[in-house]
């Protein structure tokens, strides 16, 4: 069942080479659309009251390495797979119709879709690592062939940084298996490893730095602005919307879940790191003159909130982190889509050159209006998706780390600063009528932005629809950190109508 999400895009991408060129884009949209529909079906079949992994598949692959083809889905994985398939479809839709070498492009996009799904579904660390590394290859090609002026530099930097991150996380996992004397790399086996806190801290360091490069966290982030700016719009949507979440997913799945004592020791430092990332990302974004680079730094800032929530380590903050991962992905996708349209129609991304795009007669009023909405969503305006996620993160983290949370709240304010700068300069003001002969924005170009805007508003008005999926995972992964006996109270499920009974929680705690 889950294997379909991995193999359908790969096989579909390979079949694209056999199609005539005019059917390649509809073919790619069909394949990614089928993946999306399959994910929607998985959402409908998922049992929220079951805290464990569902739809499991297990095949022994290379027993000598401890590598098994093991797939499974919990709330966190489901949300991330949903984000991946949704944004893949959006990214493919956003691709320009006259792109060069379309077969290769769409095949690579579907390969990324497949690899990322595989990483989110993997229940064996080596399998996760395999998909984690595999997705680098199509992405490197996507950036270096279809990118901007400095695409070679950006692609190489991205590849080197992420390869290093892979090496670090592999070192951490190998250490975990070796010191814990585990028989294989299956997630279930790894959860049963019991190591002293000092070993856990030691193993957490390469895992933290490895996933920290992927997220990215300051000062491991310098690959991001170049990669996001030089990548074309659909690739930037995938990079920012989905790839960055691999880092935070890995941190929660392999860092927090497997090494809880070490995590507890490092948590104050992690919260500080998250706060610094938020403020640094926001401050550097304020100084940017290129709107795409500004959005890239905004992405760095928002990932700091996820680390803060994860550092706090209670079910509320982790629920918020998981929701923030999804909301950040959707908002970044709409921002990159709109910035891409602006660059395409106006011809420039410079803040100094853009002005008055909200002009209803000669400007880009719909795009500007959606940009205002996207910017304000990113700044955490209530009623839009990011507010719910950030608020839950703050609420959960404040009790643990009040100072760091307050610094992050200041960061939210700074987010509003650079978005108001962006909107003030690009959307408002006087449109230069001498220069303003922009090509019309077609409905086809606007559709991805409309779909994303609908998601932002709908999930903002009804945040329970977003938060409910992450909650079971958030409750389950903090169970090893609970020092007391089985007493996880149903109050951990504030966003659902029916709370699981104590018996259900006790059963799940007993199982793990």
């Amino acid at each position: 069942m889950l294997s379909l999400l991995i193999w359908l895009p790969i096989i579909g991408g390979a079949l694209l080479f056999a199609l005539p060129e005019k059917y390649v884009r509809p073919g790619a949209l069909t394949v990614s659309g089928l993946s999306l529909l399959w994910t929607a079906w998985l959402f409908s079949q998922y049992d929220i009251s079951n805290l464990g992994f569902q739809f499991s598949e297990h095949l022994s692959w290379i027993p000598a390495f401890g590598l098994d083809y093991a797939l499974g889905l919990d709330g966190l994985g489901l949300l991330m797979v949903g984000l991946n398939t949704f944004l893949s479809w959006i990214a493919i839709y956003t691709t320009q119709a006259n792109i060069e070498r379309p077969k290769l492009f769409y095949a690579l996009m579907l390969a990324v879709n497949s690899a990322v799904s595989g990483a989110f579904l993997a229940q064996n660390f080596l399998l996760f690592f395999f998909f984690f590394e595999v997705e680098l290859v199509p992405l490197y090609l996507l950036i270096s062939i279809w990118g901007g002026e400095k695409r070679g530099y950006a692609a190489t930097k991205f590849l080197l940084y992420t390869a290093l991150s892979g090496a670090l996380i592999l070192a951490g996992a190998l250490g975990m298996v070796w010191l814990g004397e585990a028989s294989d790399f299956n997630y279930e086996t790894l959860t049963k490893i019991s190591l002293p806190a000092s070993y856990q801290v030691l193993l957490l360091l390469p895992i933290l730095f490895g996933f920290g490069i992927k997220i990215p966290l300051i000062p491991l982030h310098t690959w991001l602005p170049d990669a996001y700016v030089e990548a074309s719009t659909p690739v930037a949507i995938l990079l920012g919307g989905v790839l960055a979440k691999l880092g935070t997913y890995g941190l929660l799945r392999f860092g927090f879940s497997l090494l809880p004592d070490g995590w507890a020791v490092l948590a104050p430092g992690l919260a500080v790191w998250g706060a610094i990332t938020v403020v640094y990302g926001a401050l550097v974004a304020i100084a940017q003159k290129d709107i795409k680079r500004m959005v890239a730094y905004s992405s760095i800032g928002h990932m700091g909130f996820i680390l803060l929530g994860a550092a706090a380590g209670n079910s509320l903050s982790i629920s918020g982190s998981i929701a923030q991962m999804a909301s950040h992905g959707i908002i970044l996708a709409i921002l990159f889509a709109l910035v891409g349209i602006i660059e395409n129609k106006v011809g420039t991304r410079e803040l100094s050159a853009l002005n008055g795009l909200m002009n209803p007669i000669r400007g880009l009023p719909v795009i500007s209006a959606l940009l205002v909405m996207g910017g304000m969503a990113s700044a955490g305006l209530p009623g839009l998706i990011n507010f719910a996620a950030e608020f839950v993160v703050f609420q959960g983290s404040f009790r643990q780390f009040p100072v760091q949370t307050l610094v992050c709240v200041v960061g939210t304010g700074l987010t509003a600063v650079y978005f108001v700068i962006l909107l003030n300069r690009t959307c408002f003001g006087r449109l230069d009528n001498e220069q303003a002969y922009f090509p019309k924005v077609t409905l086809n170009e606007k559709i991805p932005a409309y779909v994303l805007a609908f998601a932002i508003v709908a999930l903002g008005l009804q945040p329970g629809w977003l938060l409910r999926w992450g909650e079971p995972t958030a409750v389950r992964i903090i169970i090893p950190t609970l020092k007391t006996e089985v007493s996880a109270s149903p109050q951990h499920f504030p966003y659902q109508s029916d709370t699981p009974s104590q018996a259900l929680l006790a059963k799940n705690i007993g199982d793990s």
């Binding site: 550097v284 304020i286 100084a287």
Partner: protein, 168 residues
Amino acid sequence: MTARAPEPIWLVMVPMMMMAAMALHAPIILSSLALLPIAAVGAMGILLLLSSLLGGMGGLYLYGMRTKEAPEKPLPSWLVELFAYDFYTPKIYKNSVVLAVATLAAVGDWLDRNLIDGAVNLIGLISVAGGETLKYSNTGRSQFYVLTIAAFVVIIGVFMSCLTIMGG
């Protein structure tokens, strides 16, 4: 907020002030017409009365009785400008908060581009330069390569022997 507030003409100001005064004095008016219990006036009522009296007397003095001495400038110019420019709040804000954030942002951007990215690019440069140096150090003669390989095999052999001896 940054522009000097326009001053409406007396035809607007006088009725507006009269009605504002009446609205503020409503509790006292109501109590004097015995529509409210006497306790409703209280301290607030007394304060309102006093402030109205003070304002009225001040206005009467400044605008009514000083006209012969200083017809154009009843109030000192610094006071007039303080009110007109909203207590200089925009300027204070621009020179404190906005300047601080903008400076921090510029410093952060410089650090990011030159220090952090610079360090990474320096490592890349060193790697490339190292590779170029190694490239040019090749002689092309097979004896050199055989010698290099033999030397490293000897070193590895010695190292492994030491390990075995120390382990055994």
